[in-house]
Amino acid sequence: MIELTVNGEKHSTEAEGDMPLLWYLRDIANLTGTKFGCGAGFCGACTVHIDGTAQRSCSVPLSEAANREITTIEGLAVNGDHPVQQAWAKHQVPQCGYCQPGQIMQASSLLSDNPAPSSADIDSAMQGNLCRCGTYPRIKAALLDLAEKAS
């Protein structure tokens, strides 16, 4: 039995300890906002917060998530109005939208560490999150917009 907290709710599961957190969230907890992209930590589509920090849920076994606080895109803001989500809407960032939950979780983690990141800080923090639609310039513009407001 593994216990963990997801979006403020206590979960306990009989799932195997080697199951990646990603598949626990998607297949067992039915939280499908966290996406599968590569299964190997190369693309960032599965990014969640573990104890407040962005991590790739495809590469974290459930046993390591035990007794930790997990936040997924569904739990980032009750009304979907986290400043990153608002900035994404303002800049019309999404195209297909598949990678955006991961981008948003990565970006919100960046901003909680560094509320006014530079362009280079943004490149460095976001380089692990792929977007095949090519929304990078808008993601950067949205984050620079937030950085400007913070500073």
Partner: protein
């Protein structure tokens, strides 16, 4: 913004409340509603687009059906804008529903950058038809002349008295009316458009930002098992033997099933075969799949290796090929030229690699095979699955989810057919999940190509003769066994050179295909534009001229090019040449604008440079200028790019900008580091570590897009941004370093 249909309240134009329509029990799937089936069924006895695309609910909500797949191009938003505009619907009182695959919608194949081109006028008419019905119903209710009434922002208004009726008040009356004939309907004047043009924020925004958008793998049906499939490493190979004993021991594994083999060319869209592991969750299926011990048979494609094949293509380019366009006497003109220049270009196989790997769910209940798929072409799913399982197409119901990118991969329904086969075979609800490794190794690949260009210049450094030879395995091979002669690829940047020359020739060589060849965003334009627009820069250099000036001179005077009259059977993307002529003035305009925006000709610091390219594809004109900086150790950065697009009439200007930005980054990925290579018939890459696509630090820090104001008919937007990016980038690299890139990907060429 995006609200989905509450089935219990659904009203249809003709019959009112839904009765007797099968409503499926979908406990967790309420978003991509199944009720579009009902819409299509309603339309069966009245072939009317008004009924097919529009339904009015009792509360006045206008439900608009989108029959094109949403894959990031914002089709759902654009379709809603067009219909709501002509219908005079309040934007806040509409709901969008996704259509099932159904021939009654006409073409649903969401590729070829055709959603707006094919549907702008059709959907305007549908919206306007319902607007007329609302007006007439209100006039009847008031007992006044329809000519004294108009419809505005969800209300009918009687002009003399000022009385109004909301759409909600008219829903029942409209439900009983016959739509007027098309010739009795007038669409709005362009100046009165509210939503078409600048555009609205995308309808799926809130869902996407909160993780609620339903992509294929997010569909949740009761009692679903997950299947992961081991597929043959070489196309046309099949399972010789399989030992599944260890796989079956994995906790959660439910069954192991051999898939039907696909051992005969042409491969078409049929699944590749292999062995499926079914389990209670994805992780168990994946672990089980890794424990399979499979021996694969030999394949006629075992000898395919990229290195040797490149030599074969280049050798073909040394010989005269099949001629697709010939004007004047190129051989004589080249012999007589003051100066000639020749260059060869190479572009490898590429994979679309959308962020969402292929996935589909299927179940077979009461003789109906129901599929939920991230498909670009649901009617292709229907016909493939019906044919494979011996069903009527009417027994196959295809729900289209949101697509996490498509780029051509998801036009091929093999993955949905896998799910359908397993559901049919087992009686279970099955979700097939492709791993990234499956996507990279078992795709329908962008073809590999080698090209040879040769040109002649006169004493004054003017372009006088042009020969372009292109050799590549053709997409035709996917549908015709052994096909070596290209099909529509020659129309994509080979037989349509826009140059005012007396001597011009375009040819192709013949080579076999030994992978599944498919299409990828902008298709053959990628390699043809890379070669021709790079070569044009080489010629300007050879002539000692400015690239922009040289190119503008080569394009020549303003004119509509009549390729047919010049000896080229150019298909013009299926566009009528009166509506969509090849207009050199528009081509030159985007080139001038992009170079002006970039301040072309300015002094650049050491190691920095500007490069340009211009290309017409999918009936749109796009010019791209890229600024690069290359450090001493060969590190490439792209501070900025400028794109000017003339796509005729646009429905959502910001979505057009988004597509130009995204198309540019897609072109960047094709140029930078990505390559699919083959050894002994098997693809050597497997995931985003060895198939590297562009990341944020590689991307232009900003991309400035200008959309030309135009009232010309709408042209393509999803693809045309891609072709000019790679040559503009490589031309910029040349300007910065003097190093000419003739082979993609750029990879380590800058540090060598």
């Amino acid at each position: 913004m995006s609200r989905y249909l509450d089935l219990s309240r659904r009203k249809f134009l003709k019959t009112g409340a839904v009765t007797g329509v099968a409503v499926f029990a979908l406990p967790l799937l309420t978003r991509q509603g199944p009720s579009a089936t009902a819409v299509a069924a309603e339309a069966a006895d009245a072939d009317s687009d008004a009924r097919l695309f529009i339904a009015l609910q009792a509360d006045g909500t206008v439900v608009i059906t989108c029959h094109r797949s949403e894959m990031g191009q914002h089709a759902r938003t654009a379709v809603a804008q067009i219909v709501a505009d002509e219908l005079e619907a309040d934007w806040d009182r509409i709901a969008i529903e996704q259509a099932l695959g159904d021939k009654r919608y006409g073409d649903q194949n969401t590729d070829g950058s055709r959603s707006i081109r094919f549907n702008l006028e059709r959907l305007r008419l549908a919206g306007a038809t319902v607007r007329h019905m609302l007006r007439d119903a209100a006039a009847e209710q008031w007992g006044v002349a329809a000519a004294d009434c108009l419809v505005e922002q969800h209300k009918a208004r009687h002009l003399p008295s000022g009385r109004t009726l909301d759409f909600a008040d008219l829903a029942a009356a409209v439900a009983d009316r016959q739509p007027p004939s098309a010739d009795a309907v007038s669409v709005k004047a362009r100046k009165d458009w509210r939503y078409i043009g600048e555009g609205k924020p995308i309808v799926d925004m809130a869902d996407i930002l909160t993780g609620k958008g339903t992509f294929a793998a997010d569909v949740r049906l009761e009692d679903t098992v997950v299947a992961i499939i081991a597929r043959p490493p070489v196309v046309l190979s099949k399972v010789q033997s399989v030992d599944a004993a260890e796989a079956r021991k994995v906790p959660g594994v439910i069954d192991v099933i051999e898939m039907p083999a696909n051992t005969e060319a042409p491969v078409q869209f049929r699944p590749l075969g292999g062995v499926a592991v079914l389990a209670s969750n994805t992780w168990a299926a994946q672990k089980g799949c890794e424990k399979l011990v499979i021996t694969w048979s030999d394949s006629p494609n075992d000898g395919y290796s990229s290195e040797a094949f490149r030599k074969q293509m280049e050798a073909a380019n040394e010989q005269p090929g099949d001629v697709h366009y010939s004007k004047g006497d190129v051989d004589a003109a080249l012999k007589g030229a003051a100066k000639t220049h020749t260059a060869q270009y190479y572009v490898p196989h590429l994979a679309q690699a959308p962020m969402e790997p292929p996935a589909a769910s299927a179940r077979f209940v009461d003789g109906v095979l129901e599929v939920w798929s991230c498909t670009q072409n649901p009617q292709a799913d229907q016909s493939l699955i019906a044919g494979m399982l011996g069903l009527e197409e009417s027994q196959v119901r295809v729900h289209v989810t949101l697509l996490g990118g498509g780029f051509g991969r998801k036009s091929k329904p093999d993955f949905a057919a896998e799910a359908a086969y397993l559901a049919h075979e087992t009686g279970r609800t099955v979700r097939v999940q492709w791993r990234r490794e499956d996507d990279i190794r078992h795709g329908f690949y962008h073809t590999v190509s080698a090209q040879r260009l040769e040109a002649g210049l006169d004493d004054a450094g003017r372009l006088k003769a042009w020969r372009h030879r292109s050799t590549f395995p053709t997409i035709q091979s996917t549908f015709v066994a052994g096909a070596e002669e290209p099909g529509f690829e020659t129309d994509l940047g080979l037989r349509d050179p826009p140059y005012a020359l007396e001597h011009i020739q375009a040819e192709t060589g013949r080579v076999p295909a030994q992978l599944r060849i498919g299409w990828m965003r902008s298709v053959a334009n990628i390699y043809h534009c890379f070669a021709s627009q790079s070569f044009m820069a080489e010629l300007a250099e050879a002539a000692g001229r400015d690239h922009r000036d040289f190119l503008l001179e080569a394009i020549g005077p303003d004119r509509l090019i009549d390729f047919a009259a010049e000896g080229s059977k150019f298909a013009n993307y299926g566009g009528d040449t009166d509506a969509y002529p090849f207009d050199t003035a528009r081509l030159k305009h985007v080139l001038r604008r992009a170079t002006d925006l970039a301040d072309w000709g300015r002094d650049m610091p050491e190691g920095s440079g500007l490069g340009l390219a211009v290309h017409r594809s999918f009936l749109s004109y796009v010019a791209t200028v890229v600024e690069v900086t290359v450090s001493e150790d060969g590190e490439l950065t792209i501070p900025k790019a400028w794109v000017v697009v003339d796509a005729g009439t646009v429905v959502n200007r910001d979505s057009v900008r988004n597509q130009m930005e995204g198309g540019s980054v897609f072109g960047l990925s094709a140029a930078l580091d990505a390559a699919i290579t083959v050894d002994k018939g098997a693809v050597q890459q497997s995931n985003y570590d060895d198939y590297q696509v562009a990341r944020m630090p590689h991307s232009p820090a900003s991309i400035e897009v200008e959309v030309v104001d135009s009232e010309a008919p709408p042209a393509g937007v999803g693809e045309p941004g891609t072709p000019p990016f790679a040559p503009a980038l490589c031309n910029a690299i040349f300007a910065a370093t003097g190093k000419r890139i003739r082979e993609l990907p750029i990879g380590k060429q800058l540090s060598a």
